[in-house]
Amino acid sequence: MRKVITIVAASSALLLLAACGSSSPSSSPSTSKSPSTAGKFLGCMVTDTGGIDDRSFNASSWEGMQEAQAADPSKITVKYLQSSSSADYAPNITAFLGEKCGIIVTVGYLMASATGTAATANPNSKFAIVDCSIGSASCPISASGKPSTPPKNVDSLVFDTVQDGFLGGYLAAGMTKTGKVATFGGEKIPTVTIYMDGFWDGVQYYNSQHHTHVDVLGWSEKTQSGEFTNSFTNLTMGQTITQQFISEGADIIFPVAGGVGLGAAKAVEDADNAAGSQKVNMMWVDTDGCISAPQYCKYFITSVEKGIQAAVKHAVLTAENHTFTGGTYIGTLANGGVTLAPFHDFASKVPASLQAELNTLKQEIISGKIKPATKSPV
């Protein structure tokens, strides 16, 4: 009998430990430091499984929330719940509904179904969802994948990253010495391939303008086939793939795989150390790489950014000052929702003529003169 008790105690201790480890952030939602939240506008956010410190879209979304609070700390307070698995989405949203949140921000298109269901059932609550045009074919609410009318109380925040991807591709084509540039994705999903489409388009456009023949390794907008790590966590895979590209002669790499890009950066660093000079460089994605991965800043020509932060902040503020309208916000070059990051160390290395061309190009995309093609439209 004693033995049985020991086993039970030991295994439950183990389980308890496991539970603590994986879910302690979710059980202790972070709130603002102010002790009283009564009467204040409450902005609430449900993270994806990546968690609040994913250096990617969850982190950017939370920064947007915090910026909204900073804009008017006397009126707005923000908090978040972390999802440990997709099974947490709906319960987390329900928990926030119970707390009378002024707006509930959900992060990532995987949460479309949970958000859509909650929004339909609670028409008086306000929602915003990041990286998803809710109800559309690319981000359907129903499990069958059929498009439906989006609920009016949801603000869909999407980003036309084909536009700044295009600028990135053009820049890469202008900067390559070997005539080969490369890109790879984390998984073949629309929010990833739209970047790769833009990058590919940009290189082709440079070729047509300058009568060059710069190759894109790892992706083709025409055939929609190319290189993927099939994981957003396998850094070693990102490194091996980048070594593959470098061995094939590519000298600018554009990983679209979140943190896996760190593996690519390591491969770039190793190749440059082995060569004794900075022959291979890269571009970061989603955020300004010189801020999110500063140790590799000197290899980043630029970053192809997605302005999640600003969009989330805007959504929270409109909900607070009663100008919330729902519908779809599309981040573009025109409204600054997508952009190329500053060149940082490359400011003096990117020729002035190329910088001028990029500015012209940006205006032409804004005016609609150039329409970068993509098979994953927002």
């Binding site: 603590c20 990546g50 850094l235 070693t236 593959q244 094939e248 593996g263 390591k266």
Partner: protein, 426 residues
Amino acid sequence: MTAIVAAVRAPIVANRRLIAAVTFVAFGLIDILIFGLFSHKGDATFAFSLFGAKVTVPSLHVPARPVTYALGIASVLIGVARATVTESKLLKRLSIAAVLLFFVLAMLLWSDTGSWADGIPINVITLMQGTLAASIPLILGALAGCMGERSGVINIAIEGQLLLGAFTAAVVASAVGVLWLGLLSGSLAGGLIGAMLALFAIRFLVDQIILGVVINLLISGLTGYLYDRLLVPDANTYNNASTFSTVKIPVLGDIPVIGPIFFDSTIFLYITYAAIILVQVGLFSTRWGLRVRAVGEHPSAADTVGINVLGIRYRNLILGGMLAGIGGAYLTIGSVGTFSKDMSSGLGYIALAAMIFGRWTPLGATLAALLFGFTTALGSFLGSITVPISPFILGMAPYVATIIAVAGLVGRVRAPAADGKPYLRE
């Protein structure tokens, strides 16, 4: 009795022969009809030197279409021979290997002559280096599995051992600044999980499968939590390790082609060589190995002759865990230098599969892991030249190839008889 068995077995044998033959012919026809007919004119190029290497080996130019046809016809002939002639076991295995090799070659020839390839050569060295890079954690993990299961304890926790090894190695190497200490502590972390696994499985008789899964969840949560609270806020101190640089073995490393692939790598590859040999020889040619296998097959008999059953199980799980911990350390200080959440990405489960496919032998497990690594590297090459094959198909290719090869080459596998059964003295 024997007659009945023979009567039942005869059609099975005939069926197997037919299935094998049809499969071979099908592969041959794919070679001819898809890769041959749709191949483009011109030569595929196999390069044997790295980009910018000082001493270069001339590239090999292969006329794609005729060679693809030849490979396809050869596969069909092998299939016909399989159906008509009674072959020895060795010949059967060789024919499977040949058909698969021809298929891969035909695919490479087809893909490298396509308009999408833009004249990029198939770099054999990169392909093989990629294979080894992907295989190292799998091999070390699979060896850990072998050590445990040969002594009768199932180790599902390889995934957790890799992950904690990766985490500990990165943090220690980063905070202390000594890579070797990182390697050592990563290995010890793996051993610690081995000890935990042993304690709960042997002392408290917890179901070994559930135990392993729970440990994996525990480690994923624990490292994820510490990552958020410690590594992200203070990345420079805790998550900024350097990595082992490559060491070229004198003489051997200068051999063209072979040298850069096998003898010009980080310490992890050499540790892996040593580990494979040690575990293989240890398990099958030493007194220790004999005892381990006795404990795994028939613990009560082993106990009767005075072998310390539980002691051997404890020791094997801890030693195996240390190997897997080294595999984990490879993921950080052997390759990318930074830890990130759940970066073992399921490699531990693949290592487990490699061990089973390798029939619980170190050499077999190594071959299975290499096959998996090769298909991964191949997929990565094909993706880089944007071959018009769906990325989803390329992504699942390693799994499919492993299943086919194992079904064909390995056949029925048998686990150690006492695998997963706790030993209790009567």
